[in-house]
């Protein structure tokens, strides 16, 4: 790992680079929001950011703390009702990329944000599905970004809140009008992509300075590596400067209120 940047910065910059200019992106709060706004402030000035609170084409100057911060509405092209958001914009197929996080992910990129343990007697009750279950169905493809750890990357999620490729990797086969699903998972260690046949996640790119063993150690299943494993390109100075300024602005803004 370089001293120029942290593993978290590497993750955010890599996630941001996955977004292309002019794509429309449905943004989850937290890491996805950080990456999507970094993309907008660097290589993708015309990326269309959409938050489930109804804000279309929003350009927040600071990162929102909640999915419905006033900043999102004030900088949006327009703000629609939440039913319209889910009917016309998500289900209507107007979103290219859904950008999600999760508490747990498994080898078929199924996501759990519901609970740890058993549904009737949860060990930990998590927030639940929110906008994710239908995003996974209705957007063109899904990007997932989250920190790599054995608690998060598990053999089998305790609950499939949001489908990746199902428990058997085949949940999207022959389903009409369904998106491509998760096409990449970006962590602080690597990038994973689903095997085109089996849909099992495998590492396609390692971040510079990260070893295969580190990924194996942080993954709860027997993770596979692509035959042509790449090294992830490093953040450039402009990206790092922009990200740090964004986070500083954000911290300052939210500290006061």
């Amino acid at each position: 790992m370089s001293e120029r940047y942290t593993a978290g910065e590497m993750m955010t910059v890599t996630a941001s680079r996955a977004l292309k200019n002019r794509q429309s992106c449905f943004v989850g709060i937290g890491l996805p929001s950080e990456a999507a706004n970094l993309a907008r402030l660097t290589h993708a000035p015309d990326v269309v950011l959409i938050y489930e609170s109804g804000t279309l084409e929003t350009k927040p100057n600071v990162l929102p703390l909640s999915i419905g911060d006033g900043e999102l509405c004030e900088t949006a092209l327009t703000t629609v009702s939440v039913p319209e958001m889910f009917r016309y914009w998500v289900q209507g197929g107007r979103i290219d990329i859904g950008f999600l996080g999760a508490a747990q992910i498994d080898r078929f990129a199924n996501l759990n944000t519901t609970l740890i343990g058993d549904y009737e007697n949860p060990k930990v009750r998590l927030p639940g599905g929110g906008g994710a279950p239908e995003m996974a169905i209705c957007t063109g493809e899904i990007f997932i970004t989250l920190k790599h750890s054995k608690r998060t990357f598990v053999e089998a999620v305790d609950f499939v809140t949001t489908v990746g490729f199902g428990r058997d990797g085949k949940a999207r086969d022959d389903v009409p009008n369904i998106g491509a699903g998760p096409t990449r998972v970006i962590t602080d260690l690597c990038v994973m992509q689903p095997d085109p046949q089996t849909h099992e996640l495998m590492v396609t790119s390692l971040h510079r300075g990260v070893s295969r063993d580190e990924v194996i150690e942080a993954t709860g299943w027997a993770i596979r590596f692509s035959a042509d494993l790449a090294t992830t390109a490093e953040p450039d100075d402009h990206e790092l400067k922009t990200l740090r300024e964004l986070k500083a602005r954000t911290a300052k803004h939210h500290s006061g209120s």
Binding site: G54, T79, P83, F86, G130
Partner: protein, 272 residues
């Protein structure tokens, strides 16, 4: 036409023990003053409906008002868990509550269908999710034209919906502006409705297609300045992100919560 009532009067008239209550506002315009009044009036056995329970339902659940919660995302936005909700679900304090959970898309559609007078909403949803295994209200139907399998959920028809908005005119017509969430749908889907507003004005002074809820579909309009704090009212005051963060520590501890409730809700009295 809407009656102009005080906050205590509107709550005591329309929020009955055992009722199904939807209090909406998507991060923005959350009707906290009304929630506190429900706590003060010690309403019990309510079925609470809300896409994002947020702090308002964390407080009402911790205060013992709820029998059941219907929701789609139960966190403290940007902060973490709702500890009073978790304590009720995981440990049954102050008593056990039943939960029924959906996705946002399903709840938004269910409110929309309620406003539209339909018994059900249909969506392309829940494919591959475990949620239909734990929520028996999620069914699937086949499109008679294409054969596609689509999810169906019952529409939401609350006994009473409560929302907060910027302003009402003297006829009780209400303007909602900014992030409008499912507020209009919540009001139209309900048998009765209470709208708390920042102020009463002579004229709403808005564009021709603004989100206006006519007074003749509202049961009670109540002036409650600051009634959405610590959430925010677009054009009036910002969100107190600090309170949302501070809430985490307060809500983690039953005693700290009880003390907060005594000091900031019970001792406070009518917030309108």
């Amino acid at each position: 036409m809407a009656d102009f009532l005080s906050l205590p009067d509107s709550i005591s008239r329309y929020v009955i023990d055992g009722a199904t209550v939807a209090m909406e506002g998507f991060t923005h315009l959350i009707p906290f003053a009304a929630g506190h009044e429900i706590i003060r009036q010690k309403k019990r056995d309510l079925t609470l409906i809300r896409m994002t329970p947020d702090l308002i339902y964390d407080q009402m659940i911790g205060a013992g008002c709820a029998k059941k919660l219907i929701f789609s995302w139960g966190g403290n936005p940007g902060v973490g868990s709702l500890h009073r909700l978790r304590d009720a679900v995981e440990k049954g304090w102050p008593h056990a509550i039943e939960i029924l959970e959906h996705s946002h898309a399903a709840m938004a559609n269910a409110f929309e269908a309620g406003a539209a007078g339909l018994p059900l909403a249909i969506l392309r949803g829940y494919i591959g999710s475990d949620l239909p295994k734990v929520n028996d209200q999620i069914k699937f139907i086949e499109c008679p034209f294409t054969g596609e399998r689509l999810a169906a959920v019952p529409s939401i028809r609350p006994d009473v919906s409560i929302v907060h908005a910027q302003k009402a005119d003297k006829h009780g017509n209400v303007l909602v502006e900014g992030i409008i969430g499912v507020q209009k749908e919540a009001v139209l889907a309900a048998r009765h409705s209470i709208v708390t507003v920042e102020e009463i004005v002579d004229t709403l002074d808005c564009g021709p297609n603004a989100c206006v809820i006519p007074g003749w579909v509202i049961s009670a309009v109540t002036v409650a300045p600051g009634g959405a704090r610590p959430s925010y009212t677009h054009g009036y005051y910002p969100r107190s992100n600090k309170f949302y963060k501070d809430w985490d520590a307060i809500a983690r501890d039953r005693e700290a919560f009880t003390a907060w409730l005594d000091a900031h809700v019970f001792a406070k009295g009518d917030e309108s």
